[in-house]
Symmetry: C2
Subunit: 337 residues, 2 copies
């Protein structure tokens, strides 16, 4: 398997990205390869400073870089040789079996969709993020690929995430919840109400009905379906709430005796580690015809290494074949709703 990694994507690129890619190699199969996509000379110079198994790592030149805050479509147009654009082309030509980036999410989604195309019957791909919870991992889709969702998109996110949750996270019959503002059928906006009918009518989906924001943390479901705008707010809000709370606890602890504060540190660290979503590496772009992992902009080597392993598993488990089979069996037409 050949895994292409955007060496220039993310706040800690290229150093942490390259380090993560190299860390993954010993855990991959012997005939697996890593392709670092970025400016040839720069990546070469960085690699020269590091120890690694030659022959398993190659560089594919991509002189341009899309900045984190650039407008996605425009950046792809003006920088056809950016690492993101080049990576998407490698996948299209069959020169890479998986693509991974911690760069501009919008640019990744646009480039991957344009070059790699969607799986049969998929209308719009969605990004699925896994939240590690004490009651088990919760998959949330979409978290930002699609901010103008139709009911059929949301329905497909439910089906695809269900397949992912079952075969990657090992959850039998994942419980699928639809994010709304009340459990009752009457609650929600029009798109949510119409989506509910589609999810409810597919026997392949273990649909539990509407859920609310707080339910994500209560172990009531394994998959959360929501449109990209809402999912992105959920993702960043949770991050902010957790960080804010840990900061507040730290402030209070600073006012206590230093010895006491020291004793609490390992406890807090254990809680933090159990809820650390870097554990899952990247978030798959479900519905794309290939394996694409999108990582958080703040990713360090540890996350990138995990993303490589996640891409390997996604590819090996043939998740896309399973999604295609499920969609073929579904009664919902892609032209519905």
């Amino acid at each position: 398997m050949r895994i292409a990694i955007d060496a220039m994507g993310g706040d800690h690129a290229p150093d942490e990205i390259i380090a993560g890619a190299l860390e993954a190699i010993p855990q991959l199969d012997k005939d697996d390869e890593v392709i670092l996509v970025g400016p040839q000379e720069l990546v070469e110079a960085k690699l020269a400073e590091l120890k690694y198994k030659k022959g398993r790592v190659s560089i594919h030149d991509a002189p341009d870089v899309v900045a984190m805050d650039e407008a996605p479509i425009e950046s792809l147009r003006s920088k056809p040789k950016s690492s993101i654009a080049v990576m998407a082309k490698l996948a299209k030509r069959g020169q890479a079996d998986a693509v991974i980036s911690a760069g501009n999410t919008g640019a990744c989604v646009a480039a991957f969709q344009m070059r790699m195309r969607n799986l049969p019957k998929v209308n719009r791909p969605g990004i699925a993020v896994v939240f590690p919870m004490s009651a088990g991992p919760v998959t949330i889709c979409d978290v930002g690929a699609n901010v103008a969702c139709k009911p059929v998109n949301l329905y497909q996110y439910g089906l695809m995430s269900s397949v992912y949750s079952q075969h990657i996270l090992g959850i039998e019959q994942p419980r699928v919840g639809l994010m709304s503002i009340g459990e009752e059928d009457s609650k929600g906006n029009e798109v949510v109400k119409r989506t509910r009918e589609l999810l409810r009518n597919d026997p392949q989906i273990n649909f539990i009905g509407n859920i609310e924001g707080r339910d994500i943390f209560r172990g009531v479901c394994d998959v959360v379906v929501c449109e990209g705008f809402v999912g992105n707010v959920i993702l960043k809000l949770t991050e902010g709430a957790v960080d804010g709370l840990f900061r507040a606890i730290k402030q209070e602890l600073m006012q206590e005796k230093a010895r006491l504060a020291l004793k609490f540190k390992p406890i807090i660290m254990r809680v933090y580690k159990k809820h650390d979503y870097n554990e899952y590496g990247g978030a798959p772009l479900l519905g794309i015809n290939g394996t694409a992992m999108i990582c958080h902009g703040t990713s360090k080597s540890y996350t990138i290494r995990n993303a490589v392993m996640a891409a390997k598993k996604f590819h090996t488990q043939r998740i896309n074949d399973k999604i295609t089979t499920c969609l073929a069996e579904a009664h919902v037409r892609t032209t519905d709703a």
Copy 2:
């Protein structure tokens, strides 16, 4: 001032509601009155068990009760004598200067809008919740009154919340942020993009641009504008994240020595108290022609007492007059967008 309180609204009604109403009385002015709205005999019997200043409390009979999970519009149609419907009528007839309920939020919004009507130029009222943060209180509007927002609605939430933040929370020139999925202008859905222009062009609003979910906890803004669906998810998600994290910390502590766990408890309690939104009592329904406070369904007496005080302040500070003046000066027409 006469303050009507829904004695039957919320998970802890009527006991906690009545208790909260009575607790508020000593803090009100001498000529202020509290009207408990609910089934006459039931409320009378509950009152008979309690000590309170007669003459300052009256009962207004409302034999029906809207359940927390009833469909709002249907419940108002089938139960015209519910406490919520009766309270709205009292406000309409000028027999109550403020209404407070911890009951079915949708039914409250529908009843108050139908009977009390909107302020001049207001298209749709919005519920504004205040999050207490270490860097200062953050007002979020709307959190569930309007799940099909137009740009003009969002613009008005920004303006009205700004007035509220300034005159109730004492923040000079509140910084108003628009909830989106990235700071850049290109990010967000169509409604968000059009709202940005409206907010940016009103010199009465100290608009700081797009914000992301995590920014709520970072002290970058005093007001957050979002549509009701997103705001409701934010509200419940934050609640769930905070509860979940405290539970996780508790679990870890249980595995430590009991003495250490005991020492940690007051620290956690201090953090909890600083972020306790019950402090602010109810959430005002901004844009309604009157004073209406909507409380969390889980409200206990403490929250209801604070909601009464919040209603008193809202009324005394003439927030609605200030909103009306600002809207009259605005260049955005209510027919815009």
